[in-house]
Symmetry: none
Subunit: 527 residues, 2 copies
Amino acid sequence: MTTPFDVYDTTLRDGAQQEGLNLSVADKLNIARQIDRLGVGYIEGGWPGANPKDTEFFRRAREELRLDNAVLAAFGATRRAGVAAADDPLVAALRESGAQVVTLVAKSHDRHVELALRTTLEENLAMVRDTVTHLRAEGQRVFLDAEHFFDGYRANRDYALEVLRTAYEAGAEVVALCDTNGGMLPGWVADVVDDVVSTTQGRVGIHCHNDTGCAVANTLSAVDAGASHVQGTLNGYGERTGNADLVNVVANLELKAGRPVLPQGLLREATRIAHAVAEVTNVPPASRQPYVGTSAFAHKAGLHASAIKVDPDLYQHMSPEGVGNDMRLLVSDMAGRASIELKGRELGFDLSGDRALVDRVTARVKDLESRGYTFEAADASFELLLAEEVEGARPSYFEVESWRVITETPGAADAEAVSEATVKLRAGGARIVNTGEGNGPVNALDQALRGAIGQAYPEVAKFQLIDYKVRILDQGHGTDAITRVLIETTDGASSWVTVGVGANVIQASWGALVDGLTFGLRRAQVR
Amino acid sequence: MTTPFDVYDTTLRDGAQQEGLNLSVADKLNIARQIDRLGVGYIEGGWPGANPKDTEFFRRAREELRLDNAVLAAFGATRRAGVAAADDPLVAALRESGAQVVTLVAKSHDRHVELALRTTLEENLAMVRDTVTHLRAEGQRVFLDAEHFFDGYRANRDYALEVLRTAYEAGAEVVALCDTNGGMLPGWVADVVDDVVSTTQGRVGIHCHNDTGCAVANTLSAVDAGASHVQGTLNGYGERTGNADLVNVVANLELKAGRPVLPQGLLREATRIAHAVAEVTNVPPASRQPYVGTSAFAHKAGLHASAIKVDPDLYQHMSPEGVGNDMRLLVSDMAGRASIELKGRELGFDLSGDRALVDRVTARVKDLESRGYTFEAADASFELLLAEEVEGARPSYFEVESWRVITETPGAADAEAVSEATVKLRAGGARIVNTGEGNGPVNALDQALRGAIGQAYPEVAKFQLIDYKVRILDQGHGTDAITRVLIETTDGASSWVTVGVGANVIQASWGALVDGLTFGLRRAQVR
């Protein structure tokens, strides 16, 4: 029997501590589904009872979250000082969360016990013992996060180890040693983990922050020293400098150290998942991110190009397919073709026989992407582009003459602003002028446009705009930066995403709205 | 006598390989001056002879670049196969660069010699020997970058070591081992460096890329194994995933490992320098960057804030002053009273004596945050809120009567949309009506508002909007979702962030614009 090895994701809890990152319950459910596809063993969902959002997350997770690979874990603290575990409402929230696993954070640094918990070292041990025992008796599995462990170990090794022993004896499966302040270096982590493993004989986990730029290396160093449980977050999200980037840790373990830790083949989803999660968090992905960044396998041409053709492995540390990324030569169009063919097939267009067509589509996509478009998320806009190239003309159901939108404060400046849009277009043989009102300019424009087109195509009545995302590209140029808008439209049965780009956010939104309605009419097979 | 230790910056050469990074000669001179203030020993300026820009850089550097700490190094290759070093025009360019130090890149991987250089292993050794000998005879100091060393060592240890021996014998002071493809892990680097140091007895340097997320740790690992020369770049700039972040490496050596490597006190300039360099490169700084990122010493959780008051060192891995950074407390819905008090102190308001005031501010922050505001990033809006509560009234320099913004496609629907805004307000005793145009509604509104207020307060002329971020909250509700806008304004010397929220994106932007100008006028102490 081999020792189990846990890949434990804490994006939804510790990752959500990142400055500027605010996740709704729907966002968290969405991210959990994405991370599950990576094949991690555990997903920490949040702290039920500590805030209403996380309580709601676990309630909805019980009803609607079906995970293929991961076990959901609830995070929480040991019972308060001087209260029985069974009577502590925060412990009750963990018990009632429906999570199979509870990860309890416990103090293991003597000064933190005294200053932050304001209790005695003995009571802290009792709090660990009682809470673990109680939750185990209630049928939950318990992991323990030993907070500030490395600093605590330096301050008072005996006490830090005593906390671990207490947790193991009470039934904790794993104790994760946390470098909460993030100040450790790999050699130090190795020494401490080595001592803990040999002293306690328990299963040890590792939880690192990136304050020295060594979170990934510290995690690997702990594994080398005997840790069998690694914690981290997608895209390295987290407080301050972030947590260990879980994809980096896993890729290093699987592809470098030859130690499989995910179900076979799932690491190939890593790039897609990392980017999908970034779409939900709306934190722009770092192009230089190891393994999954858009620049991670990009090569400046010139000196190397001819040798890359002979043997690409001379110039890359691994095959980018291993993490679902692509090699990219910055001045060549090698990269796009295969994925465009693949994407076309996915949408029902067989492009494999027509090299010139694929070249044309690739060139257009590259051109549009250089101007800020993205087709990764906007399948519907991509299908319209493909249809245009395959069928010779862009599907079109209406011709727009002009549009205008006004936003103003009608009376006093502190009154609610109102927006009004007018569109003029030709559809179904008639000229239509329609005005819509809304609580924002895009909302008004959507009302005006759908109202106008609906007069010619009643199918439009079913369409509804359900998501609207704005991203400012090329930040640092103030309000005249390029804006990208993604719009999701539904017909009640399914939904599709379209993209618009422009220096003017309203024009970018307009482009995405027009694509959204056009795609919907095409799908409804309107002639 | 102690062994010398080199901190070698290659921002201007290897860092400039980063995708999207384009530096003019003036940019490079500017960056060199900044990096010199950090106290590094060597600044690699580029490859004279290989491109006109770098040749020009060295020409201008001779005339106008005065460095207090660093020696300028020129990068270049060993002579071409079959040509005498003295006759190779690229070697001549190095000779004539005026640089005291030449860093020669040489192949140390047998397959690269055969495939990229297309020459024999023997001729490659001769190229190393001849070029080093020639430049030494001409009075230059020579360092050698052994390209693809770690992969080459694996493929053919004897040959890789032979390249190093040849370089040392010809007079190279240091040989830097390059993990050119970036695929190494710390343990592997340590083993190889250890072997090289004990086999060759020469001075060894290290040059790492971040493809496994371990560039900093790999560099430290090499130093532990005996390397006495570290290469890296400011902000970790570089091809693909970047090079080792030199500030991280140095901070870890000085502050963690207790090994001073810069002139005393200069590491305290690191944050300022890293940001100044980012201004020149125009690459937005990563807030999560270790040591120097704006989030690197930011604390969010309310849980911790009360203990931070007692002993900040319990919650930070070092004092941020050590790298010229600041501790920052984020105000968020997780924060309690303690963090509001601390935040107030940070901004110059002593709230500790007034419990009712703190309660009032905390309640307002919680209420505003539940409606979509965030004060984590928007310090300036938070300061206005605090000032309102402390001073009894919100700072106000103008009274808005109304505003309106129109966006339209003037002629055909595919024409570029234009936006025009009109604001009516009272300022400095006069009623002002002003119209502004822009390529988007917020841009137009900003023009109109600043133009109007500038008529009463000339200070406004210095203000400029430098960043604009939109986030749709509560996604999944289409265009009628709540929108949050963050705006960053500068007065040329410093910058501040304000927040606006609303169902209408224009109204949200308006709120942030008004706060941005109000804060700027307050900071300028306008009465």
